[in-house]
């Protein structure tokens, strides 16, 4: 018996998975701890304009002499916050909607479905432009809009998983035992749809981070001088070519940050998907 248990535990994630987790840990911790550790102020301008990396400035400086290292870390705070928070909101709302729609499959299912279709059909950029023009470039609105746009994704996956889990005999058994609908929904359906929903969530976070980058490129993200990775890249992209060739690190560091982070998130999401597929196949 114990041998079988051991077999389950040694699922063998690839080393890349662990690397990805490590990277995420690093940036999340550094982003969270940023105000408490001894970093140079991200807004502090200095005379060392476009300096290359040195012991004084690990990543060098930008065109206003601001320390790039601390700007990248502080930028991480914004990008990661946008990524995780917007997806968390979308997941909770969309996931719950999907579960309820899939389980009851009556009028509520029709209503939710139509709502989801409406959101998908709505042009995202226009919504963003409209909201931000009216309300201003505040973090909360950015998070809000991206969250809103991600609801259909989670609605779909949550509803589909719910429909499939609903067919299984243990749901029938729970009903025969006398369990109430709410208990079945949260005690049986929820834990069983969590795996596919979570793996999509990781991929969703990476998409949200890139979305923020795109917004920044359009000048719609948080206002400078607040750093976000997208901001840093778009800032760097606006430099004159001679400035860029003097100090390309201005764009390289934030780009690397986004690339590594989105790669890690996608990798984790896909690995989780594969793990859960294998698990369910075994049954």
């Amino acid at each position: 018996m114990s041998q079988m248990l051991e077999k389950q535990k040694s699922r063998r994630f690839s080393p890349g998975f662990y690397l990805a987790c490590l990277w995420l840990l690093v940036i999340v911790v550094s982003a969270a701890a940023a105000p408490y550790i001894h970093l140079q102020k991200p807004d502090a301008q200095s005379s060392a304009i476009l300096a290359l990396p040195s012991s004084a400035h690990w990543f060098g400086t930008d065109n206003l002499g601001r320390d790039l290292f601390s700007r990248v870390i502080y930028g991480g705070r914004v990008s990661l916050l946008v990524g995780f928070l917007s997806i968390a909101i979308g997941l909770i709302i969309g996931g719950l909607m999907g579960m309820i729609a899939g389980f009851s499959q009556r009028l509520i299912d029709v209503i939710f479905n139509q709502f989801s279709n409406f959101v998908i059909a709505f042009p995202a950029i226009i919504l963003l432009l409209a909201v931000i023009t009216v309300e201003g470039q505040h973090l909360s609105w950015i998070v809000g809009v991206i969250a809103f746009l991600s609801i259909p994704v989670f609605f779909r996956i949550s509803r589909a998983s719910t429909l499939s889990v609903k067919q299984r005999d243990f749901i029938l058994s729970a009903k025969v035992l006398g369990a109430q609908r709410r208990k079945i929904l949260f005690s049986h359906i929820l834990p069983n749809i969590l795996p596919p929903v979570l793996s999509i969530a990781f991929i969703g976070v990476s998409a949200a981070i890139i979305a923020e980058g795109v917004l920044a490129y359009l000048g719609l993200s948080v206002k400078l001088p607040i750093a976000s990775w997208g901001n840093l890249i778009s800032q760097g992209a606006q430099l004159e070519s001679y400035q860029l060739s003097a100090d390309p690190w201005v764009v390289i560091w934030p780009s690397l940050a986004i690339i590594l982070t989105t790669l890690s998130l996608n990798y984790i999401g896909v690995s989780l998907q594969r793990l859960f597929d294998r698990r369910t196949q075994r049954l």
Binding site: Q3, M4, K7, S10, R11, R12, R278
Partner: protein, 398 residues
């Protein structure tokens, strides 16, 4: 005391000229978790020509893997295969994939377990059969179509001209199975492997399908290997039965003999575990569960569940024995009906009554341990084919 002739591991059937010789076949599988599991171990089997050989076994017995190996369906990296499978003088394990494809379907064909997944859902059933015919036989399209109609008729499909154009999902389960049989017979194979051809079908249908296979076997003079977990199905048409357990063949005999005089305790236990419609006696269940391939012990795979298992059974894999009847082979140190069996039974009953553990080694000085060592020595002698121990040497304690 019956004279026991002990052979080395060769399993030659004196009765008929075998169509397929399997020699020392072992198949190991590599799991995703990098473990190596022995799915088949040292299979030696001669499939007699123009007869039906039934292979019966539960989960983990390796019977499906046997069929797949014969047909070369497991030639991927994940399998370690050793031994020989000789068909018409050719070792099927060594020929190229191209040559194997020529043999498959035309000389050896297989009926799979699940008709719905074995048939192409988007191709009309008639076309699937004509395609098989055209691939292997040198006939024109119209001839192939005619042959298909004939085939459909002989497997009992009504209105073959009409059903030719149907898709698999339009047919019932029983009809799909008949189509699979027609497909397997299309090119007139000399050997047919049927893997659980009646699972999922109902009792009445099962009988019809089995009888169909038997009829075709006679008409076409084919050799058939019929694989099933259901002893009843196998017994209806098989001439010989091979019982598999934990990747090994543990008994092989003509059908009637298996039912009336099984020698391997597993076979007998299996027979007693099947509910019989006209008897009231309590079913004798086998304790434990089918073997987990990961912790197969060195000895006899059935030992953990056997009522008469002795310590030697856990240590040494019993070689193949046969008694006066050379067509009845079994792999057990304490076969039913022998004196050894009675003694082992008594020993185990004693242990049970006195709560002595079955598997723990007894003390150095005990009688049983001595007997144990005698058997170990004898088994080592067995690997040398020149030495044939006398019955006195084998069981000198009595």
């Amino acid at each position: 005391m019956t004279a026991i002739k002990v052979l080395n591991k060769e399993f030659a059937t004196e009765l008929t000229d075998p169509i397929l010789c399997i020699e020392n076949l072992s198949v190991k599988i590599k799991t995703p978790e990098k473990k190596i599991l022995p799915v088949l171990t040292d299979i030696n089997l001669d499939v007699p020509k123009s007869k039906i050989l039934g292979v019966v076994g539960e989960s983990g017995s390796g019977k499906t893997m046997l069929a797949k190996t014969i047909l070369g369906l497991n030639r991927s990296q994940n399998y370690e295969i050793s031994g020989k499978v000789i068909f018409n003088g050719i070792n099927l394990l060594e020929i190229s994939a191209k040559e194997l494809r020529k043999i498959r379907g035309s000389q050896i064909s297989m009926i799979f377990q699940d008709p719905l997944s074995a048939l192409n859902p988007v191709m009309k059933v008639g076309k699937q059969i004509t395609e098989a015919i055209l691939t292997h036989l040198d006939v024109s399209k119209s001839e192939a179509t005619e042959q298909t109609f004939e085939l459909l008729r002989s497997v009992g499909i009504p209105d073959p001209e009409k059903r030719f154009h149907w898709y698999p999902h339009q047919l019932s389960g029983g009809q799909r199975q008949r189509i699979l049989i027609a497909l397997a017979l299309a090119c007139g194979p000399v050997m047919l492997l049927a893997d659980e051809p009646t699972t999922g079908l109902d009792a009445t249908l099962r009988r019809q399908i089995i009888e169909l296979i038997a009829r075709e076997q006679i008409q076409r003079d084919m050799s058939v290997i019929l694989i099933s977990h259901d002893l009843a199905t196998i017994s209806q048409i098989s001439d010989y039965v091979a019982v598999m357990y934990g990747g090994k063949i543990v008994e092989l005999a003509p059908t009637k003999t298996i039912f009336t005089h099984p020698k391997m305790p597993y076979t007998s236990a299996l027979l007693e575990a099947i509910p019989k419609i006209n008897s009231d006696t309590k079913l004798k269940s086998i304790k434990g569960s089918p073997p987990n391939l990961e912790d197969l012990n060195r000895g006899c795979p059935f030992a953990p569940r056997c009522d008469v298992a002795q310590p030697v059974c856990f240590k040494i894999n019993p070689p193949i024995f046969f008694d006066e009847d050379p067509s009845h082979k079994y792999s057990c140190f304490f076969p039913i009906g022998s004196k050894e069996y009675d003694i082992a039974s008594e020993i185990n009953e004693y242990k049970l009554a006195n709560e002595i553990s079955f598997e723990s080694p007894l003390s150095e000085n005990s009688q049983l341990n001595k007997q144990d060592n005698e058997l170990v020595k004898t088994s080592e002698q067995l690997n040398n084919p020149d030495i044939e121990p006398t019955s006195d040497e084998v069981f000198s304690d009595e």
